[in-house]
């Protein structure tokens, strides 16, 4: 021990660290409980961000353009197209169609967009969504060729030349049949098919109505989208269904609306159980140290000093367990992401601050509950009884 500048000895004989260093075996069960529970919470909560991360990745392609489709009629007519073209924020519009490509999610399935754009509009579209062809060739006009983003090919286990669609597999929700002929890269996870093929009147693909891809002038996206949303008929009813970045974000939020409540409930319940277990173990440990605390009270320590000492010991053990658990949890979810999810095209954000912050509830609640329970016992402790019992 050495004296600090204020003349106080460091480390203090009452320091929590000193206690922990000399009681590794007594602290181990508490550290282990905290670590396992924290790791469990990280491993349970982190993968839930895969819903959002993967959904957002699939939505990214659509978020970079605006999709407008008629709300009150099957297809655009000249009048509606004229009103569309009066949009002052519009740079260009392209007729397109969209189908959905089934993709695995962490639970259940999601859908990536499979977009049919005319040949002459393809390059501009791909530039806007940030995708480029890295293998194979573009869909040939009038054929069932499809180029897919690398992550979709990996996730579905395709190779170039493989076919998909309901005509190939009745369980596949994508209508018709397509053959993978190229691989795309870029941040937008989507597929491109030929617009002419997707518009053949005799094809089942014709049942899917066309929409307009609206490209806004640079910096005028909000103005353009607002114009589209505000288009109404004589009775004031919206004419268009507008899918823009805000709409997609709202839908994703909506689909995950109950998740934070569920996770909060799970975490709170787990933290409460751990806090009760911790306080029970703390009481057992306290009973084994009754002589020590009786003596400390007798020689002049205040109850609050000893409560603080025990709270620091509990907090140190709980924090140590939390840190170890965090390490185990993060390592586990990283391995899970790299080895299991990513090969299926499922994204997961690691580290995720939600489980890290939520799991802090475990050591915090443990420390508070254990300190409260021990404080009550210390307040009821009579040092004279302890001394006389041992001296008898």
């Amino acid at each position: 021990m050495t004296a600090s500048s204020s003349g106080v000895l460091r480390p203090s004989p009452l320091s929590a660290w000193l206690w922990l260093r000399r009681h590794p075996r007594q602290a181990a069960p508490l550290v282990a409980i905290q670590a396992l529970v924290t790791a469990l919470l990280v491993m349970i909560i982190t993968p839930t961000n895969a819903f959002r991360a993967t959904s957002e990745a699939y939505a990214e392609a659509l978020a970079r353009v605006t999709i407008a489709s008629p709300l009150r009629q099957f297809a655009f007519d000249d009048d509606l197209l004229a009103r569309l073209d009066a949009n002052p924020g519009q740079a260009e519009r392209v007729e397109a169609k969209m189908f959905w490509l089934k993709m695995p999610m962490i639970v259940g399935q999601g859908f990536a967009p499979l977009i049919a754009v005319p040949d002459d509009a393809r390059d501009a579209f791909l530039e806007r969504v940030g995708a480029r062809l890295v293998e194979g060739h573009w869909p040939r006009p009038g054929t069932d060729d499809a180029v897919l983003h690398d992550s979709l090919i990996t996730a579905r286990g395709f190779r170039l030349g493989d076919a998909f669609g309901r005509l190939e597999d009745p369980a596949d929700p994508t209508p018709g049949r397509f053959v993978v002929v190229g691989r795309l890269e870029g941040s937008a996870r989507l597929g491109i098919v030929d617009h002419a093929y997707a518009s053949r009147p005799a094809s089942v693909l014709a049942r899917t109505p066309p929409f307009q891809l609206v490209y806004a002038k640079a910096g005028r996206e909000a103005e353009s989208d607002a114009y589209l949303r505000d288009l109404v008929d004589d009775e004031g009813r919206s004419l268009l269904h507008v899918v823009d970045r805000a709409y997609l974000a709202e839908r994703i939020d909506e689909s995950l609306a109950n998740l934070p409540v569920l996770l909060g409930f799970i975490t709170a319940a787990v933290a409460l159980v751990v806090a009760l277990v911790t306080s029970l173990l703390a009481v057992v440990a306290f009973q084994a140290r009754v002589d020590e605390f009786g003596l400390q009270l007798a020689v002049g320590h205040r109850v609050r000093t000893l409560v603080r000492k025990l709270a620091r010991e509990t907090a140190l053990v709980a924090t140590l367990g939390w840190a170890i658990g965090l390490g185990i949890g993060l390592t586990s979810v990283t391995l899970y992401r790299d080895l299991v999810l990513e090969p299926k095209g499922i994204l997961m954000q690691v580290p995720d601050m939600r489980p890290i912050l939520l799991s802090l509830l475990v050591p915090t609640l443990s420390t508070v509950v254990a300190s409260f329970v021990i404080a009550r016992r210390l307040r009821g402790m009579d040092p004279v009884s302890v001394i006389q019992r041992r001296g008898a």
Binding site: M1, L9, P13, G300, H301, P383, R390
Partner: protein, 220 residues
Amino acid sequence: MTDAETVIEARGVGLSYRDGQRHVTALHDIDLAVARGERVALVGPSGSGKSSLLFVLGGLRRPTHGDVLLLGRSLVGGADATADVRRRHVGFLFQEPFLVPYLTVRENALAHVPTAEASERVEALAVSIGIAHLLDERPHRLSGGERQRAGLLRALAAGPDLILADEPTASLDHATGRAVLDALAAHARDAALVVATHDLSMLDAVHRVLRLADGRQTPG
């Protein structure tokens, strides 16, 4: 000795408490004043109130009536309320040394006074009572006499004005008990010492004896 030198004073102190269904009166109107440098022994049979009086003098028990003055100031309140005063001014030596098992002898002595000044005092005291080589040992490695001397080290670490010792030699053999007693007497020169004991051989080390029976002072 003048009033100014009085360290501890009990004025008409009485102590009653309930022990289950039983009402116990442990002390009846005890008057006692102990000056700095004075050594007083409390003697009497078991249950005579010796320990109770020590606990009242040290502020661990609140008297039912009467008053206790430490350095002229009333010791008001129970064990927690008087803790700061006790830590600074009172050294306790119990029959059992009550050493904290995970702390070394040095850490045990300094747990309630973790100051550089107390540390220097402990170093010097440890040399004079012959346990300097044990300062960094934990209690389980000490003999009974060494443990009691470690307890003495803790009692003296803060440089107390009042030392209260409850049967400090009861669990020691005669020679070891004598050594502890001599050390206690030698290092209590600047403090008031009140020692409760059954050991009549201790009486030649004190200036005055207060005899108790059934919680009352009895004539010597």
